[in-house]
């Protein structure tokens, strides 16, 4: 007990408080009072507190050596057990830091004490023998922590050992000391034996003490558990603070309920197979790196593995009675199986290496857990720590030794939900972003392939002369697919979740509608909400063949009536005439044509042509630069004649066919105006043109897409063929007629002469001719 004194009082208190496993300890929880009252004087002290009362009781009963029944109350042991554990741990560490840590507990004692007062009800130990057993327990001082109040007992016991116990060293083979107790001592403490601080290096052979139920070897130098296999009634074995390296020699102790092996050198949990009734197992302060071989301990309620080398908690199944698990001061990063412990209520994880709630997610699945400590872990530094824990463990009543209020819990769950939503949202966002990036990459690749192919086709069509360039192209074409394949695999690897790569992407961001890939144009057919459609001001086309865009431009003005800014990038605008197509949009204020993938931008004249052709839109900006008055004048100067020629010199039938149906009417009006004196009318006709929006003379400059054009050419060819045969036939016929006519013309004079000659010859002889005539007349009659 002298050693006890060594501890600073506060600490001792803490120890005591924690050590509440035994009733004596509980008593000691009342620190100052206890010290004051129990300072060695066991007599009934006036303190009103229950702890004190207990002390009295103990002391009074101390003399009776009724066998005590050590029974742990399964229903309500938790708290004393907990205390015990803390205590043990504390003992072990004996460091100041720990002491401080424990202070909260100490402070809590006020809470505990009253409860402890009623020992029978409350304490884990139900001492059947009445107060006597308690005292007995205390007396035997099995428990070092026997507080000062037990000191009385100690006093008696300590001397006992030294005085009454005699170590006989048997001279026999065994080098073990043999222990005999004096008879009276034996009678006094028939079922307990304390061999504390005896500098034992081995377990002595204990003779004639088969009925021993409690054995204390605290603070010795024992390296191996031996010579106790005959103590088959042993219930309580304390080997705290020895040098044991392996758990062994316990296989016969079938009734053992409490095994205290704290502060030893055990590396491995083993040889506990037969201890099926084990109730408390204390292994704190050892070198255990793995939890194993305890699955059969169905009765175990308290397991202390604090201050070991655990980094991973698992293999806990089968511990069906475990209510308290102490894992403080390990290096635990993650744990599982906790949810398989149906009775676990108290879990101490302070000072480990847990950094993420995901790693201890099993805690959330435990329905019994009501008290947990996680302080001293990285996770406890996080801002979301408390909220997340509380949110996931609604059953929790105490976190890091602080009670949880309803309010806190509610706030936590709200906050956690919010947090989670935010996380999910951001996750979704990043996922989307990633997907978008990949999709755009994919589209770009397809576009390049397509462009390359197109280039290849045209080049092979075009210059057969330049075999060199063709070769380059060919080789390029050979190289390319491989490149894409590898790219593909890379991509698909990185994608995983977003396995399906789209070939197009539609996105509305702010007031901009982005269309990537030609497939995106189909989205214009979709039903856009009026609101969305209304907000779109900029429409950006990327990786789409301009010809395909042209076909949807009419839809654009219907779907997105407010779009005034068109952007083109990688759309293959090559010629000026392609801009003609933009005239059919309703309104453009800004036009942006990115040089990338639009070679036309390299032309000096493109801007002027756009200004000229889209003159009716009153463009404000082209490629980000303001359009100035002089730009417009310049554009007109450069291309005005073209429009004039187009409108004034085209034959009317072509004008009509070149203008779309819709424009015909306005054009007819213009024609009428032109019919009048041009000088007077010019303003008027200007007005009419402007009313119509687009200048009619410009409308003639329109753009037909390549396919449509080839189609048209095909049609023309067909028609031409027909016309050719038709004309040929006509011409042949005409030529024939002409030839006949000419022949006739050639023959006719001669024929006429011949006829006349015949007639003249006939009538030359008047008489005979007369006769002939008369003859004919008579013949007729």
């Amino acid at each position: 007990m002298a050693t006890r004194e060594r501890f600073p009082p506060a600490k001792e208190e803490a120890v005591a408080a924690r050590g509440g496993g035994r009733s004596g300890r509980l008593v000691s929880m009342v620190p100052s009072k206890f010290r004051a009252g129990g300072g060695g004087r066991p007599g009934p002290s006036p303190v009103n507190n229950c702890g004190l009362h207990l002390v009295i009781q103990t002391s009074s009963v101390a003399e009776r050596n009724k066998p005590f029944e050590f029974r742990v109350n399964k229903d309500q042991s938790s708290f004393h057990n907990r205390l015990l554990q803390h205590d043990l741990e504390k003992n072990h560490s004996g460091k100041q830091g720990d002491g401080r840590l424990l202070t909260p507990l100490v402070r809590n004692k006020q809470v505990y004490v009253p409860v402890a007062a009623n020992l029978a009800d409350l304490s884990g130990l139900e001492l059947k023998q009445g107060g006597g057993c308690l005292s007995a327990f205390g007396d035997s001082s099995i428990h070092t922590p026997t507080k000062s109040r037990t000191r009385q007992g100690c006093h008696s016991a300590g001397p006992n050992i030294s005085d009454n116990i005699h170590f006989g060293s048997s001279a026999s083979i065994t080098a073990f000391p043999i222990l005999h107790r004096a008879a009276d001592e034996k009678i006094l403490n028939s079922d307990r034996l304390t061999l504390e601080r005896q500098k034992l290096t081995v377990c002595p052979v204990i003779d004639g003490e088969e009925h021993l139920r409690l054995l204390n070897f605290q603070h010795n130098f024992i390296t191996r558990i031996q010579n106790i296999s005959n103590l088959q009634h042993l219930v309580f074995l304390d080997l705290y603070d020895n040098q044991i390296e392996e758990i062994s020699g316990l296989s016969t102790l079938r009734s053992l309920r409490v095994l205290l092996l704290g502060k030893n050198r055990i590396k491995k949990i083993s040889n506990l197979e037969n201890l099926k009734n084990l109730d408390v197992l204390d292994l704190h302060g050892n070198q255990i790196a793995k939890i194993e071989n305890i699955n059969h301990l169905g009765e175990l309620r308290v397991l202390n593995l604090a201050r070991n080398l655990l980094s991973y908690v698992e293999n806990l199944n089968g511990l069906d009675s475990l209510t308290e698990l102490n894992l403080r001061h390990n290096q635990i990063t993650s744990m599982k199986d906790v949810d398989t412990l149906p009775c676990l209520q108290h879990l101490f994880l302070s000072f480990n290496n847990i950094s993420s709630f995901d790693n201890i997610l099993c805690l959330a699945d435990s329905s019994s857990l009501s008290d947990i400590t996680l302080d001293g872990n990285p996770i406890a530094q996080e801002t979301w720590y408390k909220n997340t824990i509380l949110h996931h463990m609604m059953q929790l009543r105490q976190l890091d030794m602080k009670r949880i209020t309803e309010e806190e819990r509610r706030m936590a769950s709200v906050a956690a939900r919010k947090e989670e939503e935010k996380k999910r949202e951001s996750h979704k966002q990043t996922l989307l972003k990633e997907k978008k990036r990949l999709t755009i990459g994919n589209i770009a690749r397809q576009w390049e392939i397509q462009q390359n192919r197109v280039a290849l086709v045209t080049s092979s069509n075009q210059d057969k002369k330049d075999s060199d360039s063709c070769q380059i192209n060919c080789s390029a074409a050979y190289v390319f697919p491989e490149e894409t394949r590898s790219l593909d695999t890379i991509l698909s690897n990185s994608v995983q979740g977003l396995s399906v790569l789209d070939s197009h992407l539609v996105e509305v961001e702010g007031d901009t509608l982005y269309l990537y890939g030609s497939g995106a144009l189909e989205s214009l057919d979709r039903n856009w909400s009026v609101q969305t459609a209304g907000t779109v001001i900029t429409v950006s086309f990327m990786f789409i063949e301009f010809d395909e865009i042209v076909q949807v431009l009419p839809k654009l003005k219907i779907r997105f009536p407010n779009s005034v800014h068109l952007k083109f990038k990688e759309t293959n605008i090559v010629t000026l005439q392609q801009f003609n197509a933009l005239a059919q949009v309703r309104r453009i204020e800004q036009l942006t044509v990115d040089p990338q993938g639009n070679p036309v931008v390299n032309f000096t004249l493109w801007k002027y042509y756009v200004l000229f052709r889209l003159n009716h839109f009153n463009l404000q900006k082209i490629n980000g630069t303001e359009v100035t008055q002089n730009d417009i004048v310049m554009a007109e100067r450069l291309f005005g004649i073209l429009a004039h020629v187009a409108s004034s010199e085209l034959p009317q039938y072509r004008l009509l066919s070149l203008l779309g149906e819709s424009r015909k009417k306005q054009f007819c009006y213009m024609l009428e105006a032109k019919g009048k004196k041009s000088g007077i009318v010019s303003e008027e006709s200007n007005d009419s043109r402007r009313v119509g929006g687009e200048n009619a003379n410009r409308a003639i400059l329109n753009y037909t897409t390549r396919e449509f054009h080839t189609e048209k050419l095909e049609e023309i060819k067909e028609r031409k063929k027909f016309c050719q045969t038709y004309i040929q036939d006509l011409v042949k016929e005409a030529a024939d007629i002409n030839m006949k006519n000419e022949s006739l013309q050639k023959l006719w004079p001669q024929m006429f002469i011949e006829l006349v000659r015949d007639a003249v010859i006939e009538i030359r002889n008047k008489n005979s001719y007369m006769k002939l005539c008369l003859q004919r007349i008579t013949d007729q009659k």
Binding site: L605, V633, R637, G640, E649, L650, Y653, S657, T704
Partner: protein, 364 residues
């Protein structure tokens, strides 16, 4: 019209030779295409309009390439239309006056006190082959790039095809290339044969097949000492002109071109053709080089248009007029190497005196 020689050929052949059939076919074809519209105002009216437009040369506007190149008349009309429509692009000094007048029109006073600097800096509108091609496509959507490139090759070195050309250089080269394209191909074949040393007497002058020689390597650039002997060359060309059923430049003019030199290269020859006033006149589509930028009636129209535009835009704040200096002054990447056989050509073509050579002058 009813010249006596019509009698020397059977009717259909005569009609075909004079391309009457082409126009008749086209007229019917157009009639078919626009029958709904035409039915409103009568077929007679349509034919009147059609043949009128053929006569005026406006029938080729926005037509398909196959039609545009179908007859010499169409080609000449196209050339003329091209010139008229895009003359403004070729304008240089005149632009200044025009802009000033616009400005005066806009504000009633001149903003351009310091414009001398600006105009000195400013280049003529020099464009690349592609740009010229784009302009051509504005008039004829399916105009083939190949032809434009060939025309550019007359002006530019083979390795300088991205260079800028002045409007007149391109236009005259293009005229030769476009109007005489079949003839030029035959010439290329003859030239190649001569170069490879075949006996010119045994040369089978290609007459009809234009595609036959396309596969041959076009005469590549030769040093001035290379090339062929002019007289021999002329001899061959003469017989070609006699036999060819496609249009050829008048052989007298060809002789004139060739007689001034001893030897010449293919492109030297083409260049000389392009620069020859007589040939241009004989062709009749374009004015003389000196008058190339003049077209008073069109200018008048343009003034009218401009006054409209500026009339329109006076309402908008015109404070930006000072920005005109932003007009694209092109920093040409390779402007320094435009002409290939420069010395040679001058040797060949006594008429080319550099003063008319706008690309050259723009180099300075």
């Amino acid at each position: 019209m009813l010249s006596p020689e019509r009698l020397s050929l059977p009717g259909p052949e005569y009609l075909a030779q004079r391309h009457v059939l082409t126009y008749m076919e086209d007229a019917v074809s157009q009639l078919l295409e626009n029958r709904e519209d035409i039915s409103q105002y009568g077929i007679a009216r349509f034919f009147t309009e059609y043949f009128n437009s053929v006569r005026q040369g406006t029938h080729i506007l926005f037509r398909e390439f196959s039609f545009i190149q179908a007859t010499p008349h169409n080609r000449a009309s196209f050339l003329r239309t091209f010139w008229r429509c895009f003359r403004a692009v070729g304008k240089n000094g005149e632009m200044k006056n025009a802009l000033l007048s616009v400005d005066a029109l806009l504000s009633g006073r001149s903003y351009y006190r310091g414009d001398a600097l600006y105009y000195n800096e400013r280049q003529n509108y020099l464009l690349t082959v592609k740009e010229y091609h784009c302009l051509l496509q504005l008039l004829c959507p399916d105009f083939p790039m190949e032809l434009t490139q060939k025309a550019a090759r007359i002006v530019l070195m083979d390795d300088a095809m991205d260079c800028l050309m002045s409007f007149s250089d391109f236009l005259f080269a293009f005229q030769i290339q476009f109007y005489y394209s079949e003839f030029l191909e035959s010439v290329a074949a003859i030239y190649q044969d001569l170069l490879t040393g075949k006996n010119p007497n045994t040369v089978i002058v290609p007459t009809s097949s234009s595609g036959q020689h396309r596969s041959r390597l076009a005469p590549s650039e030769c040093s001035p000492l290379d090339g062929v002997e002019a007289s021999l060359f002329y001899h061959c060309l003469e017989s070609l002109c006699d036999r060819s059923k496609y249009s050829c430049p008048p052989s007298a003019l060809v002789k004139e071109v060739l007689s001034s030199v001893q030897r010449l290269t293919f492109y030297g020859f083409l260049m000389a053709l392009a620069k020859h006033h007589g040939i241009n006149r004989a062709l009749g589509a374009l004015p003389d080089k000196g008058d190339l930028l003049l077209d008073p009636p069109m200018d008048q129209e343009l003034e009218k248009l401009l006054s409209q535009v500026s009339g329109l835009s006076i309402s908008t704040p015109a404070g930006s007029s000072g920005d005109i200096a932003n007009l694209p002054t092109r920093t040409s990447p390779r402007i320094s190497s435009p002409w290939k056989p420069l010395h040679h050509r001058q040797k060949v073509n006594t008429e080319s005196d550099g003063s008319t050579d706008e690309t050259e002058s723009s180099e300075n």
